[in-house]
């Protein structure tokens, strides 16, 4: 299978896990020493390292899921990810480079649906014994404005 198809399949599975509330499966899309960050296009362009979410291990991603399930209180909601086709870049020592545009709608418990976020995933993807996993997933949102609440991962 081509890298394009393999990455597209990975992205589809990733989005489906989040949108169907299988958050416990979300950390498994990453390698152990991953970097997952949500930031804005402007901050990314300026080289700022801060993120709305910044996790530099898979254990931190699992901690976030545990917190969402058992500690944090927030309104019931779900996402619908529409993920575009990836642009595959060079394959280096830390895996395949890919850029994939996304659009996320958020559906609140009262039925309200909003266009919640658009942007691009900037990824480094590693092949671990035949399975592709994110070594790095930078979620670069087009807008620098975020809603008061960003509970579920993008």
């Amino acid at each position: 299978m081509s890298d394009l198809l393999r990455v597209a399949e990975l992205n589809a599975a990733y989005a489906a896990a989040i949108d169907t509330d299988r958050l416990e499966a979300w950390p498994d899309f990453f390698v152990d020493d991953c970097l997952y960050k949500i930031t804005s296009a402007e901050n990314h362009k300026r080289g700022y390292s801060a993120g709305i979410v910044y996790a530099d291990s898979r254990a931190m991603l699992r901690d976030r899921v545990t917190a969402l399930r058992t500690a944090n209180i927030y309104e019931r909601q779900s996402y619908r990810h529409i993920v575009g086709l990836p642009v595959i870049g060079a394959t280096g020592a830390d895996g395949i480079a890919a850029e994939t545009p996304f659009l996320v709608a958020r559906i609140m418990r009262d039925g309200r649906t909003d266009l919640f976020a658009t942007g691009v995933y900037l990824d480094r993807i590693r092949d671990e014994r035949g399975s592709l996993r994110f070594a790095e997933r930078l979620v670069v949102c087009d807008s620098g404005h975020f809603d008061t609440l960003l509970a579920i991962p993008l």
Partner: protein
């Protein structure tokens, strides 16, 4: 000013019996709460309102300037500028970045604040002709032994009104 001093083991019982206390809850990656006492004052969390729309924040080792811009009756923009020191070690820089996870829209600590604010705003809108007031910790500005008080908020606005003559 609201601040939390890092407790010592001997005096750390301030949250005993609260609903949110769960002794079995453990982080897998404890670097989220790996704090260095960099200004040696044991302050773990401090939010200082300097001006009504300007706040200084320190949460563990994450430091931020926050600016509020009211945009409409139901809309406010809140801008965060996170910063560190030019001579931070790479480890310290990473530590600050990890501590950012506690604040902001996806913050483990602040997530509820945004949610509750939304509930209250929607609730208020349904009772436009009524009014209610909650005096948390009374109506005065004196220091109190409990943290369940808004004495510091009242103190800020009292001084603000004196200084501006409003």
């Amino acid at each position: 000013m609201s601040e939390t001093i890092a407790p010592t083991e001997a005096d750390d019982n301030s949250y005993a019996g609260m609903r949110s206390v769960d002794e079995d809850y453990k982080l897998e990656d404890r670097r989220l709460i790996d704090v260095v006492d960099e200004h040696p004052d044991r302050v773990r969390h401090q939010i200082v309102t300097v001006f009504p729309n300007f706040v200084l924040q320190k949460t563990q080792n994450a430091m931020a300037l926050r600016f509020f811009t009211p945009k409409a009756i139901d809309r406010t923009h809140l801008e965060f500028i996170y910063f560190g020191y030019a001579d931070d070690t790479p480890e310290m820089r990473k530590r600050r970045l990890r501590h950012l996870n506690l604040g902001g829209p996806a913050g483990f600590v602040s997530m509820e604040d945004g949610c509750v604010g939304g509930f209250v705003e929607r609730g208020i809108a349904t009772a436009a002709d009524d009014s209610a007031i909650v005096e948390m910790g009374g109506a005065g500005t004196e220091s109190q032994a409990t943290r369940a008080t808004e004495a510091s908020v009242r103190g800020f606005w009292s001084l603000w009104r004196q200084m501006t003559g409003l």
